[in-house]
Symmetry: C2
Subunit: 332 residues, 2 copies
């Protein structure tokens, strides 16, 4: 049976207004704009990410997971800058045949992660599109004035650190597509979950202020993003591939010959925090790792020059071509 | 000949980085987020609008005009809230076959209007889409704390005012589609231009603080948007259709039987400011109109009750059905 036509006005009132949590800035989503009171001594931090069905997520992905990934990708950017999340604005172009149950599940996913990350929706725009579902989320955070972390703060001699594990996102996409059936069901489920539900390091980011030189989130691949960091900082980097933390599932995928280490180092969708810190800060970083119960791994160091060199376990430079490090991905 | 493949990274550096105007918040578009210093005693005002090719503009519209309309639609929201524009973030999903010349023209249009309205680009995200061009712009403005105008501020007895003229946007869409060939070429050109290039009332908006009760921009049609204002304020409205300001071109379209007055009152894309003010403020509003050289017309008054009544020149209530006032448009 065909779904009844969706009354989007009514659904917005039903589904999205509750996501404001009554925050006065949102004005009940019934005004033309949101109003956030400026905080003396603070910077407002703004980032926007766009996601298109079939490009950034699978068209058949569950709507609640699409919504949650959208939130998490943006909060990952805020976290890497040391900012605390404040609020979000959503611009959504929904396909004309979107159903009410789909929208309800999407809004439920949004609500779940707004609660998890203690933030609220304060505005947005919903339109119809003849094309694929296209979402853009503007995340607003706040940080003490002038204290926000930048890509440009790396210094020669700094250690290079990464949170969590690398490569699960790109492996997870293959797992979600059913391409990793040689792995166990639990490995496939673990990896697909990591693709669909990034873990923005919101507890870590603000704690890196005063500790990190440069910081960014890894979304386009560790080596490519480290290259961005180096360019912004005017330095070069050398990492040891054997020090890059892999999940047990990713290790098994490498051991089974399903993927090369080099390609994991350049896969996307990690959403971990890449940062540099002076060697003197190593103990403090380790203590922070223990306190947050979040692995923080030293994977290399910053040097003079330009570019990123990755050394394999055999002491040879890994071949960028093998890992597809020059592959182009629009977006950031 | 086929265009060479577009190197979007290089084009972003070439085309979008200059649009930051060197604003420090933008960090050269090379970081994960933008940083705006909070201003004590101010509110940050945020609004987002999404536009889809074939829905909100014609797919063949010149790319510079698409960009300029996107900017202007957002600045219209800020203006109606009394806010001064500060900066913009752009999320753009470009079709995979977008060409470098198209992107250059798009960026040139952005740059032209950023200069006109003295604002800058401080961030964004560009992705590829298999679907139609889909744009979303987040506009950031600033207003004195607590002074931002709301839809909810109308009081019984207030006069209802509108800036500029009404109906040119909806007529202009028809003109751009070649449906108004009964009009003169100059009327067609005038109306099409009003559809493609709204005039956000940026000089007016901030001057309405202290003068206006409620304020909003008219984008979905005067009667529909006045209904939103009434609902937010808990009041009703009565307007006299004969007092609603029309351009000479629109008057000629009505006289030629190409459109009814009722449908002009409910057409979209006006991007004028609708506001209420106490009758005592009428002289001040008139003086402001003269100072800004911008028509401000009193079109009715706020009363108790709910809903909007429009009275025709014959003293009869205009029929909403005739004007399509109940037509649904997603978005705001």
């Amino acid at each position: 049976m065909a779904e009844p036509p969706v009354d989007e006005f009514a659904l917005i009132a039903e589904l999205f207004v509750p996501l404001t949590g009554g925050h006065p800035a949102a004005r009940g989503l019934s005004d033309d704009a949101a109003f956030l009171a400026d905080q003396p001594g603070c910077d407002t931090v703004l980032t926007v990410d766009a996601m298109v069905a079939g490009v950034h997520f699978l068209p058949d992905d569950p709507p609640d997971l699409i919504a949650r990934k959208l939130v998490r990708v943006n909060l990952s950017d805020l976290a890497a800058k040391g900012a605390e999340p404040v609020a979000l604005l959503l611009a959504a172009a929904f396909p004309q045949d979107v159903t009410a149950p789909w929208l309800r599940a999407f809004a439920a996913g949004l609500g779940q992660d707004l609660a998890t990350y203690r933030t609220v929706l304060i505005g947005g725009d919903t339109v119809a599109t003849p094309g694929p579902l296209t979402l853009s989320l503007t995340a607003i955070g706040r940080v003490a004035a002038g204290q926000g972390l930048a890509r440009s703060g790396a210094s020669v001699g700094d250690d290079i650190w990464i949170s969590g594990t690398i490569g699960d996102g790109s492996l997870g996409l293959r797992a979600a597509r059913g391409e990793l059936s040689a792995l166990s069901d639990s490995d496939v489920a673990f990896l697909a979950d990591r693709y669909r539900l990034p873990r923005p390091r919101v507890a870590l980011g603000p704690r890196l202020i005063g500790l990190a030189g440069a910081s960014m989130d890894v979304s386009d691949g560790l080596v490519q993003d480290l290259g961005h960091l180096c360019r912004a900082s005017g330095v070069g980097a050398r990492i040891e591939a054997g020090l890059v933390p892999l999940s047990d599932s990713a290790k098994r995928a490498v051991a089974a010959g399903l993927v090369t280490l080099a390609s994991l180092l350049s896969g996307g969708d990690d959403y971990e925090v890449l940062f540099t810190a002076s060697p003197e800060a190593a103990f403090a970083v380790a203590a922070l790792s223990a306190e947050l119960d979040l692995p923080l791994s030293k994977i290399g160091s910053i040097g003079a020059g330009t570019g990123v060199v990755a050394i394999g376990s055999d002491g040879q430079t890994l071949d960028p071509a093998q890992g597809g490090w020059r592959h182009f991905r629009a977006g950031s």
